[in-house]
Amino acid sequence: MIMKPTNEMTVSFLSCSANESFGRAAVAAFAAQLDPTIDELSDIKTAVSEAVTNCIVHAYRDTIGVIYITCKLYENGQISIRIRDKGCGIEDVEKAMQPLFTTSDSEERAGLGFAVMESFMDTLRVTSKPGKGTSVTMHKTIKRRQAEKNT
């Protein structure tokens, strides 16, 4: 399914924990153009918050790096969100994505970041190169309110 996005934005910011709320707010402000419900917007914010936090806690652990987010909106009401870091990367992505799996013990992580992203978004794809960084791509289709009313 190759579609041209109708709108597109990129935001990048430092991996300090104060920016967790900024990252999800920026994506939410952009996603607002699709006229999502409060519920849908909350799902998107939660998923973005997980991915951004992973960059801060895992990818750039004990250092400050840059987090990149690209959002695209499509005519059919779909939003795609890609969150990228140039941090430590993940050796075994499949294992990392298992619920309750975490490599962090100092911070109180629950090992649920990927599980939440998966459950709150329609699709989730994770690619990673150890030593190079990680990229998380998520999609969600916002229901058309008008269409909803008509059916």
């Binding site: 924990s17 967790e20 997980e50 936090t53 911070e107 629950a110 649920l112 939440v116």
Partner: protein, 111 residues
């Protein structure tokens, strides 16, 4: 994010409000643990009624308080979860670790 602490008959209630993420969870942890470590309550209730946003960092926060309370034989209750928070809580299976209360709206009701 703000935390309000209530103490009654050896039970502690932390009324949380605002957004819970990894950033704010640290502050909450600090405030709750400082008070709890002094008082060593037999029960800690985390009241989420004022929480507008929470990601899985909130789960880590609850799990951590469960561990702490177990150290002196106490227990943890979580209360007033909105549907989104409930979804994350059930992904985590938190009902295995602590009691989930639905309708503690009135603070008089924290017996």
């Amino acid at each position: 994010m703000s935390v309000r602490l209530l103490l009654k008959d050896g039970e502690m209630t932390a009324i949380l409000s605002g957004e819970i993420d990894h950033h704010s969870a640290r502050e909450i942890r600090g405030e709750v643990d400082e008070a709890a470590s002094k008082v060593k309550p037999k029960r800690l209730t985390l009241d989420f009624s004022g929480v507008q946003f929470m990601d899985s960092s909130g789960i880590g926060l609850v799990m951590g308080r469960c561990k702490l309370m177990q150290m002196w034989g106490g227990s943890v209750r979580i209360a007033n979860l909105n549907p989104k928070i409930e979804k994350i809580v059930s992904l985590a299976g938190l009902n295995q670790l602590c009691t989930i209360v639905k309708d503690v709206n009135d603070h008089e009701a924290y017996e």
